[in-house]
């Protein structure tokens, strides 16, 4: 249904080659670069030879093309249906765009067709005008390469003023929240968008020209006992992280993964959620956090 050659990287790369050739003759290296940038690792071994040896009769021997117009293709019906589906999502308001010409289209899905059942309940207010303004302002600053001036309420309810380089807008589907990832403003690395009280593009002279956004990585090794389908559950649960799985000769599974140190508290409870079938092997510091939770639990006298 959606696995079709018209969407393939080969078609895309050839379209860009023909686009170039309709302008003028291009050197081989330009065409090879197009393939490298638009297709797969080994595509250069197929695409250019197929054009040159006239297997695909789109480029003549003299590297001209009979194609007269820049290659374009209208949207397929399913692309329109998908666009219609996103036009019905409340978050589309953040982008202040009108997706026109979709009135006669049946959406591929509506919110009645799917349920994100485990996202948190206090998601961002996507239809709030002030929130939308802040979102738009941040995008503008990023697009123009300007600094941002922000006022936020911190977790203690205090007003904080910062100026920063906006690096990216980071969305978490689990939290259903956007965060602004920043650099160049010292201690503040990320700001929840919903906490922003005021937000302006900074056009002044005292520009923060560059900043480093660096996350400190924590590496953890877990031992997984493959009982109650834990192996699959655990590997899927942590699939979004950089990881490596090792199976030892005695049938144990070791999961080595790394995560942002700022997420340590969250990672501790995520590991705890697997119970005794997942054990922290290293580092000791992370293991101690689990132990402390268990010590506190023991004092609750549940058992």
């Amino acid at each position: 249904m959606i696995f079709n050659e018209i969407y393939s990287v080969y078609y895309n790369a050839v379209a860009r080659i023909l686009d170039k050739l309709t302008d003028n003759n291009s050197a081989d290296k330009d065409l090879a670069k197009i393939v490298e940038e638009n297709a797969f690792g080994e595509s250069v071994l197929t695409i250019l030879p197929s054009l040159k040896n006239q297997k695909w009769q789109l480029v003549r021997q003299d590297m001209t093309t009979p194609i007269r117009h820049k290659p374009t293709m209208p949207m397929t019906e399913i692309q329109r249906q998908w666009l219609k589906a996103i036009s019905l999502d409340p978050r589309i308001k953040l982008f202040r765009v009108e997706l026109e010409g979709l009135d006669d289209v049946i959406p591929l899905f509506t919110e009645a067709d799917y349920c994100v059942y485990d996202k948190y309940d206090d998601g961002d207010p996507y239809e709030d005008e002030r929130y939308i303004d802040h979102f738009r302002t941040i995008l503008t600053a990023m697009r123009q390469g300007h600094n941002l001036k922000i006022e936020i309420n911190n977790r203690y309810g205090e007003r904080v003023y910062i100026r920063c380089i906006p690096e990216r807008l980071e969305y978490s589907a689990k939290d259903d929240k956007f965060r602004l990832v920043t650099s160049g403003c010292g201690f503040v690395r990320a700001v929840n968008l919903a906490r922003i009280q005021k937000c302006k593009v900074y056009y002044g002279d005292d520009v923060i020209a560059s900043g480093k956004y660096e996350t400190e990585e924590e590496n953890v090794t877990l031992e997984i006992r493959d009982e109650r389908n834990t192996l699959e559950r655990c590997l899927m649960h942590f699939a979004h992280l950089k990881k490596r799985v090792e199976r030892s000769d005695d049938g144990r599974y070791l999961l080595h993964m790394s995560f942002d140190k700022g997420d340590t508290s969250e990672m501790v409870i995520r590991v705890l959620s697997f119970g005794p079938t997942v054990e922290v092997i290293a580092p000791e510091s992370f293991k101690s956090l689990i132990k402390n939770k268990l010590i506190d639990q023991k004092s609750c006298e549940l058992l």
């Binding site: 797969f40 293709m73 994100v116 059942y117 979004h240």
Partner: protein, 416 residues
């Protein structure tokens, strides 16, 4: 057949991708269901598609291949590339570009013979020009009409063909960058992005599960069936029994997890006269059949069940009786731990929270399957003061598990 980066059938590679991405500890000789040649070809393809995301480790049983991606760093799901690998013939690609060059504007309407004549002119400058017969061209035009990129219209006795007028809207790069990662079947947005020249991308994603990309085709079919309120036939693979079963279902809703990346289909299974859940990644070969008048009634039934579904399990028998369990747990909260109350409130999907006193809160719910809540309840370890499950076997296991964790981590009786 000579090796190619491209593939005809996506199903063949779907399982390899999941194995390499989710597991990644198997060596070549463990892929017993396939030939060594097939393994080598699929691995090479994935290396070509995913480049730097593929890694290797040499273990005692040989080389293990795995895909490792920190989805917080990559801005676009790399697994979408796999869906852009469909093979085609020399004639397919040649005709595609010639056809859209001939039909370069929606104002140009031509009949089959006119298109053929013009296509021949495009090919005349080649040493050995390709020949397109009428049947090939008609087949391609029919295919493109079904895809919605060509419009066919009768004019007298002739069928005229023109390009569809539906071009991509301007200024939707940001929309596509975000929604191609944040919405179901996002690969369609990625297809649209591929046509854009400028790619300023300002979005990143946390807790971002990208595995579902490889199930996009199945998901699109399921959504399409739901839009048509249709019955489907589908192959369901049982991992437990390593067996495929052909099922006839009425698909009702997709349940998507943001905490493990799994997607389930909740569907009515007429054989059992029940609504059941099916892992989308185990489904394949969907055929959309006739529409059913029962769709609305069954979806309303699912709606009524959702207040008792914590995860994806529904347990209403064929006589309409709910088989539910009662879950209750109590937590202690210190003075400076108001965030724990907020956690309870925002993370509970169903059920209620009662304040017992300033430092004590109780969650309780009626659910179809207590075991689905257990991982969440464990996240409150360090403050659980009381627990009451109507499923006593599970309650015992929960407590035994905590006991075992004390043992594993050496939490002693006195010394700690």
């Amino acid at each position: 057949m000579a090796y190619s980066e491209l593939i005809k059938n996506f199903e063949n590679i779907r399982e390899y991708m999941r194995e390499f991405y989710v597991y990644g500890f198997k060596s070549r000789n463990e892929y017993t269901g396939k030939s060594a040649r097939s393994y080598d070809d699929e691995r090479r393809r994935m290396e070509s598609w995913l480049g730097e995301h593929m890694s290797f480790v040499r273990g005692s049983e040989g080389k293990n291949v795995f895909i490792s991606i920190d989805s917080r760093i990559v801005t676009h799901n790399p697994l979408y590339k796999a869906l852009k690998s469909k093979s085609f013939t020399d004639k397919d690609i040649t005709l595609h570009f010639i056809l859209f060059d001939i039909l370069c504007s929606p104002d140009i309407s031509l009949c089959l013979s006119e298109i053929m004549e013009r296509a021949d002119a495009y090919l005349s400058g080649f040493d050995e020009p390709m020949l397109f017969d009428e049947s090939t061209l008609r087949k391609k035009l029919k295919e493109y009409t079904e895809l919605g990129i060509i419009k066919a219209q009768k004019s007298g006795r002739k069928m005229l063909y023109r390009r569809s007028e539906h071009e991509m809207p301007d200024d939707i790069n940001d929309v596509l960058h975000y929604f191609s990662e944040a919405m179901p079947v996002g690969v369609i947005g990625s297809y649209l992005l591929d046509k854009q020249k400028e790619h300023n991308d300002f979005f990143g994603f946390k807790h971002h599960y990208i595995t579902s990309a490889i199930d996009s085709n199945v998901l699109a079919m399921l959504f399409s069936a739901m839009q048509k309120k249709s019955i489907i036939t589908v192959t369901n693979h049982s991992r437990h029994f390593d067996r495929d079963t052909r099922l006839r279902l009425i698909p009702l809703r997709i349940f998507i997890s943001t905490q493990n990346g799994r997607q389930h289909l909740l569907a009515y299974d007429a054989e059992y006269n029940r609504i059941k859940s099916f892992r989308v990644d185990y489904l394949s070969d969907i055929e959309i059949k006739e529409s059913t008048p029962r769709f609305d009634e069954l979806r309303a039934e699912l709606d009524s069940m959702q207040s008792k579904i914590w995860g994806v399990t529904a347990n209403r028998d064929k006589y309409g009786r709910d088989h539910t369990e009662y879950v209750e747990f109590t937590v202690h909260i210190d003075e400076d731990e108001a965030h724990i109350i907020r956690r309870l409130e925002r993370e509970k999907r169903i059920g209620h929270i009662d304040k017992i006193d300033d430092n004590t809160y109780r969650f309780h719910a009626e659910v179809y399957d207590t075991s689905e809540l257990v991982p969440w309840i464990r996240t409150f370890i360090c403050r659980i003061t009381d627990l009451d499950f109507s499923n006593k076997e599970l309650e015992k296991r929960f407590k035994d598990d905590i006991e075992e964790m004390y043992r594993i981590y050496g939490i002693g009786e006195v010394s700690e």
